[in-house]
């Protein structure tokens, strides 16, 4: 069994409205060393087994569904399920 951890983040040039709002909230709470916040999505995908095309499939799933290629990029790690 495989666990794939996918991280989807906004491209650098794209406005991160949520990150900005969170950053100013954290600064208001008094944590002034914080200089930036980026918010993204995190997915855990469980696969029943390893197979040859796993990586290829994960790419396809990310491209087509989990990430919006217009505004987001992604990366992932394939791990053994605990």
């Amino acid at each position: 069994m495989k666990l794939v951890k996918v991280y989807v983040t906004l491209k650098d040039s794209v406005l991160d409205a949520q990150g900005e709002a969170i950053k100013s909230a954290i600064n208001t709470m008094g944590y002034n060393q914080l200089t930036g916040v980026h918010m993204g999505k995190y997915f855990e995908l469980n696969f029943s087994e390893d197979y040859e095309n796993l990586e290829h499939d994960v790419d396809a799933i990310c491209d087509e569904l989990l990430a919006n290629p217009n505004i987001e990029t992604y990366h992932y790690e394939i791990t053994e399920e605990a």
């Binding site: 949520q18 709002a21 909230a25």
Partner: protein, 223 residues
């Protein structure tokens, strides 16, 4: 009675609630800025619907960190009346004044509809003018309205009669069809449906009127 409607950046039902008090039940009402430090002189605090801070991160999460909230907590702790509607309910759970959380609707879609609610507890200061088990029609408009709490909390809610409104049809996947709850002391009510949008027949329903009338009638009897 004199009410405060607390205005957070991104609240958008603040004026609806303001007019509900001013024109609907003809009481004194003031908008209070989220940066204000005092709720002195008010008899009740109303937290309106909307998208405070865009609902970014989680609905109500960022609003729970602005200056006025300390005062709202004090106000609630003193047993005074606090009502949170929609985003207001979300803020109250984020503040811990009400148990549980409101998470994205089961179908992950925003839903705007007039729905039937059942009045489960008509013994609160907010619901005295309703009949027990009365079915009322009130609009909902939310994307994150699915009420969630763990089993132990649900037991407690039931034992203490804290469940005030339930959906007749479970539109968003809420646990136990919960649409509105109070705290243990019953002075804080949070609900997803919008009674302030249901004060006139011409808008589709006036079933929300009794909620606001309950509050002033209670005050009248107890003063």
């Amino acid at each position: 009675m004199k009410f405060a409607v607390v205005n957070f950046p991104g609240s958008n039902c603040d004026m609806d609630l303001y007019y509900a008090i001013k024109n609907g039940i003809k009481q004194e009402v003031e908008l209070v800025d989220y940066r204000a430090l005092s709720l002195e002189g008010f008899d009740g605090v109303l937290i309106p619907g909307g998208f405070s801070y865009g609902d970014y991160l989680r609905s109500g999460a960022i609003a729970a960190h602005v200056p006025i909230v300390k005062e709202i907590i004090r106000f609630a702790d003193e047993g005074k009346l606090v009502l949170g509607i929609c985003n207001g309910f979300q803020i109250l759970t984020e503040l811990g004044l009400l148990p549980g959380a409101l998470i994205p609707n089961e179908k992950s879609r925003f839903i705007c509809e007039n729905v039937d609610l059942k009045v489960i507890n008509n013994q609160t200061i907010f619901t005295r003018d309703y009949q027990a088990s009365e079915i009322i029609n009130i609009p909902v408009a939310h994307g994150e309205g699915r009420y969630y709490c763990d089993e132990a909390t649900l037991m407690e809610l039931k034992q203490n009669d804290q469940i005030v409104f339930q959906y007749q049809e479970n539109i968003n996947g809420s646990i136990d069809q919960i649409a509105g709850i109070t705290n243990k002391q019953k002075n804080v009510l949070g609900m997803m449906p919008h009674p302030e949008r249901a004060l006139e027949k011409i808008l589709g329903s006036d079933d929300g009127l009794k909620l606001f009338q309950s509050i002033i009638n209670y005050q009248r009897v107890n003063n």
